[in-house]
Symmetry: C2
Subunit: 344 residues, 2 copies
């Protein structure tokens, strides 16, 4: 089959690889119907050391089950399924506590012998714990929105949930990528009435406003902080959803958080050390967040997607074939595209 | 009157200063009955640059109201009162949200023209919002326990509350100072059944066990982390109460926190940057804590002190006169004393 591999920074290719096969009785083989490129895929696109073996790419996909192992009970051949960006048994204590990305028997796509989602098919470990059946046809117009349940919508939701967003909390969202925009949508869905979006790409922040942002701050750094403080009587907001992952975004978050507030990070931190001294401590701020336990949230979010109450699939502004995936990376890196959907 | 001043690292003196006087109609003058030296007073004791004017010391005290300004309504001359380590109006929005240490009209003792508690008397700004009447006589045996409501008991309680300690959460407390021991007592009081105390001073950890610690780990660093993991099937605890304030304590906290857990800091951080990369983010850990909003907690904690349900005053293992305060610093710094009570 054909699959997308990265061989080093800027070097993405679609190559021939062996078809995936069932290995464990808990496995399923899924034929990919729609996948996409993630903002986090751009991190290795910038920094990966050259590797002649390459690594498979992609961790978001919707597909049709082709074959299941003997112990798989909840999905069967022909089902259209959504796959979270991590696989898990959804049964261990960490999963039951709502931290599926730390499943004792789980892992991530494109690692440890498991393929990636930017491919024609993939072996899914722990299929019962991982896959969620979506009651639509493969041709459904809902497919892009269902695909966002793999990662970006659930991740934006996680940012808002961990921050404790509700109707009484003011919100700042940092970042106008797909996750940031869906953090706006998630905050709105959880009842927030005041949502300040920090982002400087007009087409994106316009979509953010349609998703529920009430204010847009295009400035960054100290200037951006000053602007948010100006919008909030000098106080900042109760919650800050940090959807970028770089140090300047964290520093902005610190600057715009209100006394007693929460900074919730879902942008994978591309740094180790950060300021957690008096700036965080002195005002009783809380720093939370992490990889979204997508599986934990799909049951709650899926009905709103199916009913059309929300339309998170609007973050996709381009569609390519599998063979064009390398160009999808290029276009997202050049910010020509917000998020690219891949149709194998 | 006589008051304790610090003139530089290791240089504490009791000197003559003018008697405090009412300055605002919201002020009260309080004659100190009992004060104490705080672990956090040892930070400047180690590092303060020489200053010939010195700075007043002390932020924990119980006293008797001598005189009140025209607008003071809730306390009157003769009342025995407890003073939180910060003063506040207890009426602004930050106070009402439970963050009294960030009061819009508040501040800290021994700063901005306000004296310290290690003195014969002090001017109390915002007396109505700051002072809490204790219905006992000045000779009461409860005085040491009431004094812990100024800071250390309320601070330990804050660590436990912000961490979300309850009957279902396992707890690690880092630090066997007065705050650490009272964090143990607080966790126990909130229902925790498993409380691991990390500390290496036997007399202190013995008291910790009487307060509710179920396990003591004397090792520090990687060895200490390994020991806690060994006690928790390799997982760590749901909550970690960091009661020290130095980087190694934070690193221990990171090492012993369970997936999805909370690190709650109440030791004032003596550092700025710390590890908030994948070690914190990858396991969905939350970092919280800050200066305890003591005034917010006194109403809840005072009845348990008055009834004898808890006896936090046991952290005092030495009593000195005001003139002996310099020796109290020395003894606490040398770890001869856990916490020294000062009787002006």
């Amino acid at each position: 089959m054909r699959a997308t591999y990265m061989f080093g920074a800027g070097d993405v290719r679609v190559i021939d690889v062996p078809d995936p096969k069932l290995e464990q009785p808990t496995d399923a083989i899924v034929r990919i119907v729609a996948a996409c490129v993630c903002g986090s895929d751009l991190h290795p696109y910038h920094s990966m050391a050259a590797d002649e073996n390459g690594k498979p790419m992609g961790h978001e996909f919707v597909g049709v089950v082709e074959e299941t192992g003997a112990e798989v009970r909840t999905v069967k051949a022909g089902d259209l399924v959504i796959a979270p960006f991590a696989w898990q048994d959804n049964a261990c204590d960490f999963c039951r506590e709502g931290f599926q990305t730390s499943c004792r028997h789980g892992g991530f796509w494109a690692a440890g012998g498991i393929g990636g989602g930017q491919a024609e098919a993939v072996r899914v470990p722990q299929a019962d714990g991982t896959l969620v059946k979506a009651p639509v046809e493969t041709g459904s117009a809902l497919l892009p929105s269902l695909l966002t349940l793999s990662d970006v919508f659930a991740t934006g939701h996680h940012a808002a949930v961990r921050a404790g967003v509700n109707a009484r909390t003011t919100v700042t969202v940092i970042g106008d990528g797909a996750v940031g925009l869906l953090a706006v949508l998630s905050a709105k869905r959880l009842g927030a009435e005041r949502i300040i979006l920090m982002g400087r790409h007009r087409a994106r922040t316009d979509l953010g406003c349609e998703f529920g942002a009430t204010d847009v701050v295009a400035e960054r750094g100290q200037e951006g902080i000053a602007k948010v403080l100006e919008l909030t009587s000098g106080d900042g907001t109760h919650t800050v959803l940090e959807c970028v992952g770089h140090t300047p975004a964290y520093e902005q978050a610190l600057g715009v958080a209100r006394v007693g507030g929460v900074i919730s990070r879902v942008g994978v931190p591309q740094y180790t050390d950060g300021d957690i001294g008096w700036n965080l401590f002195g005002r009783n701020l809380t720093l939370t967040g992490g990889p979204a336990p997508v599986r934990h949230y799909i049951d709650e979010l899926l009905p709103d997607v199916l009913s059309g109450a929300v339309d998170p699939g609007r973050v996709f502004d381009r569609t390519v074939s599998l063979e064009q995936t390398p160009d999808a990376y290029r276009a997202m890196d050049a910010r020509e595209a917000l998020k690219v959907l891949v149709r194998p």
